[in-house]
């Protein structure tokens, strides 16, 4: 038996950098360093663990849709231990929204061939957390999402989803789309050996024509949503800061009372 896992990973601007918008109200990627979204490292990690715990022949492909530099994200995932990578890159993709991204990813996943798709819980820039559900809808396979624990055995994926009201045990047959949370287990660091090995691993590049997609279906033009304006949030007006000299708690209470919280 073999198990083909496709892990979707996103290249995102560093959250600790000064992120902002470009003139066309898309995310400006020029001035901020990019990296593999930390939340997608958890997806790569779970794919590696499923592989390590499996008697099957497991092949892990990492897939990204993004600009030239997004190759960095693929390299990192390969150095963690993934087997090969696919980079979907096309100038017409600029400004693609979640609906469009899910279309491109779904086409690429189908072309690559898969038994299991693993995504992160959300991208650290868009933070929508909707792409995995959209992928399941497009691919017509079960969605087993937001798992803090996941296992695959005999063509079945099982996992635990910790929701607000309850913690649920889920189960579905493969093929399926899974997403994992940052509670699923710390992601490993690439080893030196891993980094060296990654340099030799295959990275395929596909463009829209490889996926039988038209430019109008994606990008700003194909977007289903329009951003009309983006304004920097005014800095909060400087607050009062006091040093505790033994009365700090009382002073704070006085402030809360003045604001009618007590």
């Amino acid at each position: 038996m073999s198990l083909r896992i496709v892990v979707t990973v996103k290249y995102v601007p560093d959250a600790t950098g000064d992120r902002h918008f470009a003139d066309d109200l898309t995310v400006d990627r020029d001035d901020v360093d990019g990296l593999l979204s930390e939340l997608d490292e958890y997806a790569v990690e779970q794919a590696l663990q499923i592989s390590e715990n499996s008697d099957d022949d497991v092949e892990i492909t990492v897939l990204t849709v993004g600009p030239e530099d997004a190759k960095d994200a693929l390299r990192k995932a390969l150095s963690m231990g993934a087997d090969k990578a696919i980079h979907v890159e096309d100038d017409d993709l600029h400004g693609t929204d979640a609906i469009g991204t899910s279309l491109v990813l779904a086409k690429a996943i189908e072309k690559a061939g898969y038994d299991l798709v693993i995504s992160g819980m959300a991208s650290t820039d868009g933070t929508m957390g909707v792409v995995p559900a959209l992928l399941a809808e497009r691919l017509g396979v079960p969605q087993v999402t937001l798992l803090s624990e996941v296992s695959v055995e005999d063509g079945t994926v099982k996992g635990r989803r910790d929701g607000d009201a309850a913690s649920e045990q889920l189960q579905a047959s493969l093929p399926a789309v899974v997403s994992v949370t940052d509670q699923s287990g710390e992601a490993r660091y690439p080893s030196f050996k891993g980094i060296m090995a990654a340099k030799k691993k295959p990275v395929e590049s596909w463009d829209l024509s490889d996926l039988d997609l038209e430019a109008e279906e994606v990008g700003l033009e194909g977007a289903y949503t329009t951003v009309d304006s983006a304004a920097e949030r005014p800095a909060r007006t400087a607050g009062t800061i006091v040093k505790d000299e033994g009365e700090g708690g009382k002073q704070l209470a006085e402030f809360l009372a003045s604001q009618k919280f007590i």
Binding site: I99, V141, T225, D228, V242, D244, A253
Partner: protein
């Protein structure tokens, strides 16, 4: 006037507050038609009517609890077909966003998630969002299909606006995908008796500075003196001092209370992402350089083990 579908988040018929906030926003765009599914669906009608629902579409079936997400998408799609609404509003929970996304795809529509405000516009509803850890505010709209919009808790006031709230049974035919993901077990969360974190008017949070699970009693005591919910930073959660359901931040809950009190929390960007839109922010931290002080309306540089208990005592004394 055009109708607006509102997805009802309820527990056995008890409507959760964010849904009532959605009714306030829906009334700005059109006439709210609520969709309540699963056990206790019909019991939601009285509350929904009080807050402006002209109609309540209900459907009860075991599928809603036995399988993940898709049955609810099927039902909303059926409601959309029956009503042809001007927009569909869904509470911005993890599940709400997944339901909304799949619905939008089926309708050939765009989706906006995590709106913090909503108003009527010439070209359809305009949603305000807070992005990049709340450092930017954007206004967007859905430009194709029926706008599907998820709205964060605490984005609008709950308002009484009595309406008919006539209950109608919704006809739902489940899709082939509906039974794809089975829920084989469910452990309900134990109630702490404190307000729900995302809905609370006041949130009191502790971080690594709290230094131990047992010390969270200090944070809880302050919270209880104010009738507040308890939050925690990821550092405190990762250390096992407090449950992950209470984590505030990018990968935890996003809160927007009237008052947020952070103790022993440095204010990392990922923590800010979940609390920066709070109305009033207060912090206690022994490091005067901690970034959380850039956000505060009032900050105390000091040891939380001195300041917090004194604050709690003072609040109790004042409340008598």
């Amino acid at each position: 006037m055009a109708e607006v579908l509102v997805y009802v988040d309820h527990v056995d018929g008890a409507v959760r507050k964010p849904t009532l906030e959605l009714l306030t926003l829906a009334r700005r765009i059109g006439e709210p038609v609520a969709v309540a599914l699963g056990n206790g669906a019909a019991a939601t009608a009285a509350t929904l009517a009080e807050h402006g629902a002209v109609k309540v579409l209900t459907h009860e079936a075991a599928e809603y609890t036995d399988y993940l997400v898709v049955p609810k998408v099927d039902a909303l799609q059926a409601a959309h077909a029956a009503v042809s609404p001007a927009a569909v509003l869904v509470p911005s929970s993890a599940e709400g966003k997944e339901i909304a996304a799949r619905l939008a795809l089926r309708l050939g529509s765009g989706i906006i998630t995590d709106a913090v405000d909503l108003e009527a516009g010439d070209e359809g509803p305009v949603a305000t969002q807070s992005v990049f850890a709340a450092s930017y505010t954007t206004k967007s709209r859905v430009s194709k299909g029926t706008p599907v919009i998820t709205v964060k808790p605490n984005s609008a006031a709950v308002e009484a606006a009595p309406a008919a709230g006539a209950v109608e049974a919704l006809e739902v035919t489940f899709s082939a995908q509906a039974t794809g993901t089975k829920v084989t077990g469910r452990t309900p969360r134990e109630s702490t008796g404190r307000p729900e974190l995302t809905e609370a008017a006041i949130v009191v949070s502790g971080g690594r500075g709290v230094n131990g699970a047992e010390n969270f009693a200090i944070i809880e005591a302050l919270a209880d003196s104010l009738g507040a919910a308890v939050g925690a930073s990821r550092a405190a959660v990762d250390a096992g001092w407090y449950p992950h359901t209470n984590q505030v931040g990018q990968t935890g809950k996003s809160v927007s209370p009237q008052l947020y009190i952070a103790s022993g929390i440095s204010g990392a960007i990922q923590h800010r992402a979940g609390m920066q839109t709070s109305k009033t922010i207060v912090a206690v931290n022994k490091d005067a350089e901690a970034p959380i002080f850039e956000l505060v309306d009032y900050g105390v540089v000091g040891d939380l083990f001195d300041v917090v208990p004194q604050l709690t005592e003072e609040i109790k004394a004042r409340k008598g």
